[in-house]
Amino acid sequence: MTIRTLRDYGQHYRPRMACLKNVEVFVVEMQDPKSGVKGADQKLNVTIIPHVINGQDVLAWIVTKMKVTTEEAQAFGTMLVAYGYIYPLQNHRKLVLVPDSTLYRFQTPYFWPVQKWPAEDIDYAIYLARRNIRKKGMLEPYEQQHYDNLHKWMNPKWDFIVMQATEQYKANKERKKPDRVVLDCQERAYWIVHRPPVLTFDVVRRTNIFLTQALMRSAVKSSVSLTAFVKFVTTHHNHDPFLTTPVPSNPWITDSDEFWQLNSRSVDIPTKLSVERWVLSFWELISDPRGRVDFKLFLKKEHSAENMAFYEAAEEMRWGAASAIPEKSQFIFNTFLKPGAPRWINIDGRTMGLTVKGLVVPHRYVLDAAQTHIFLLMKKDTFYRYLKSPVHKDMQKRALVPAPHVFTDAQLEANVRNRNPGISPILQWQQEEEEKAAAAVAARPIDVKAMVATNKLDRK
């Protein structure tokens, strides 16, 4: 009587041998070059894999050979895949026969389950060790668990295992790439059958945490969110060039880029359509560069430009380079947050306290609370005052409604020949940076002492 220990994994996975002898005969017939399933070379990403068959052909062949219905043939085909006689090339974990153009290959007889060679743990350990070397320590979680377990109870043999794995790894590297890819596919398919991935407890735990959080999160009624979509589409209908012809004309149709010129950041008077879009929401207003310019003008008149300046500085820090964070946070603190700062922003005591505390060890999200507060302030209060302000109302009156272009055929032809190359975005960016720097200098508070020192305030 043989004693099976709990650690004898092999026996759990070894399928029953007797019935498979018939299957073996069947599979050999399938591979017959004349009367079997037709195979071809298939290009997978960059390597060409030889002798590839597709699911449809396999199914058709089984139906003809066994004289059964498609359903039965499907079930049988899936069994062939499940036992590892045929393996899928791409979705290697899903062991089913898909009756379409999904690609498969016949498993080499060396790896057939009916072979008396059991799927020994030691071989699996060598395989995992080799995979570990190749993937530089990045095994899949179930593989990692198997690896750790094997390492625990095979510890005395571990040096031998690692040595074997290294040797095999080096030998593998000598092979040609297509051979390597094929062999890797075969081996991986074999071990998927004989050591199927198990659901480890940390994966289940993670799912549970995710589900608990999902339950805590409040969701909105469909009627509310779907109505919001319809509203969005309706309000933006006139601004969508695919639904409403843009004025003066769509540059791609008439080859005249006037549409882009009229909507650019530096244009004096914006178009009526742009102004209408700014009214839709605060976000639309500041997303449009021309709109932002207008809003800043209004803020300057109100003497509350520091809010927008703070928002922009915080955005820059959040999306900027990691190395610039300490410097930027210092600048922001000195300019906007410290008591008596030249452009002090008015936020509630609690947020201010949290922010200043966080700035001791600045990270890119340290200003999030303050930034959100300022953004909401501008969105809920300043924006509405802007809409009622003379700056905005004046702009609405002056906004242009360009006449739609009416080009003759000759003019269109001329447009095609004279397509405006426009300014390179690189030059535009440089211009904007220069403007920003100039604005920053202008916004700096006047140092009275320095001016007195240079006698500029001398009234005599």
Partner: protein, 385 residues
């Protein structure tokens, strides 16, 4: 150079990895999963009080759409895999299988810059918000940033910067709101946020159980989330700050090839190998619409919305582009012209046109063409009016 990424461990992943507490078994955890899942389904069902089609009845019907190709960009020697628009609304960067990345001024059809990558299959490319750089990557498992130069003769490869490092191919990349950060997705099942200047990994996002094929950054005012789709048929929404997966949708039957946010940021669309495109409502936390037809059997590779969100453009592996009415769920147009799979499709930043890149080595810029008709032949590039 090949240092392993340091994982930023959230309190939740630490919780998950702790050993089994007393009384806990794998079975009990799985049972808990089932209960939680059922509870979540019940809660969501209560909020599911109306279908999109019903609400969309109020919306006006669309007129007939007549799209024409306005520009055909020829110059790639092999399959075009990815493309992106510049914020100036006229420049495009495109990458192809032979390793070439080209920057075009699509309006004049001139090629402005060209870079040859040291790898083939450049599956992802992106234009920086400033217009001064491009990012690209593919089978080299990296994402590299190339600053663009005004000097036409300058060798751009000299100033190349390797930013992202994955352990498998790069499937998607995008800049965030500035040139200084890049978000990447990879075949190794993770997405990651990188600092361009130092190449430092800022945050990594784990949760997909197979290759991550696509990602898109949210356009909302908070700008804190992004959505990714993968071969595991799931679309996951992530929080950039914490690295956590905040929402997950797994109704697709096959790999998700492309995800795109709705212009308002409250929903997103996905294109999948199961030949359907779907719309997911983020606030109600469910799928609200499926865009499919019996006659469409091939996988959808790429999607994008028009500016108002009324139209959904989708490129398919059967060489066509289908245009869907997002609200009513019907197809409004089918566009032909490409001679091979449409691999990538994007609407321009101001919505004036959309560009599709294909395995037939060309890119086509298309727009609605009412009444303007003129066919010209000029120097090798055919223009259709």
């Amino acid at each position: 150079m090949n240092s392993p990424p340091h994982f930023i461990c959230t309190p939740f992943s630490l919780m998950a990895c702790q050993g089994l507490a007393s009384g806990e078994t794998l079975k009990s955890l799985k049972a808990e999963s089932e209960t939680l899942r059922k509870k979540l389904e019940e809660e969501r069902k209560k909020l599911h009080d109306v279908e999109l089609e019903k609400v969309a009845e109020k919306a006006e019907a669309l007129g007939e759409l007549n799209m024409k190709t306005r520009r055909t960009l020829k110059g790639h020697g092999n399959k075009v895999l990815c493309m992106d628009w510049c914020k100036d609304k006229r420049r495009i960067v495109s990458s192809s299988q032979d390793g070439k990345v080209i920057v075009w001024d699509a309006f004049t059809t001139n090629k402005e810059h060209a870079v040859t990558m040291p790898t083939t299959w450049v599956m992802a490319c992106a234009y920086a918000p400033s217009g001064c750089a491009i990012a690209c990557g593919g089978l080299d498992n990296k994402c590299s940033v190339y600053p663009l130069s005004l000097d036409k003769d300058e060798n751009l490869a000299a100033k190349k910067k390797s930013v992202a490092m994955h352990t498998n191919y790069l499937s998607g990349c995008t800049f965030t709101n500035s040139d200084m950060q890049i978000l990447t997705s990879s075949g190794d099942g993770t997405s990651a946020l990188w600092d361009v200047e130092s190449g430092q990994l800022l945050q990594s996002f784990h949760g997909h159980s197979a290759d991550v094929l696509t990602l898109d950054l949210a356009p909302s005012e908070t700008g804190n989330t992004f959505v990714s789709g993968g071969s595991d048929k799931k679309a996951n929404v992530w929080d950039l700050r914490s690295g956590q997966n905040v929402q997950s949708f797994d109704t697709h039957d096959s790999d998700i090839n492309c995800v795109k946010y709705y212009p308002s940021g409250d929903a997103f669309a996905s294109a999948s190998d199961d030949s359907t495109c779907r719309l997911f409502d983020l606030r109600a936390d469910r799928e609200v619409s499926i865009y499919s037809k019996d006659s469409i059997m091939f996988g959808a590779a790429s999607v994008d919305f028009s500016l108002s969100g009324r139209l959904l453009f989708a490129g398919y592996n059967d060489y066509t582009i289908n245009v869907w009415d997002v609200l009513k769920g019907t197809r409004v147009a089918i566009l032909f012209g490409h001679e091979n799979r449409v691999s990538s499709l994007r609407v321009s930043p101001d919505g004036t046109a959309f560009c599709s890149g294909s395995w037939d080595n060309t890119l086509r810029v298309r727009q609605e063409g009412r009444g303007v008709g003129r066919e010209l032949k000029q120097g090798g590039t055919t223009l259709y009016g």
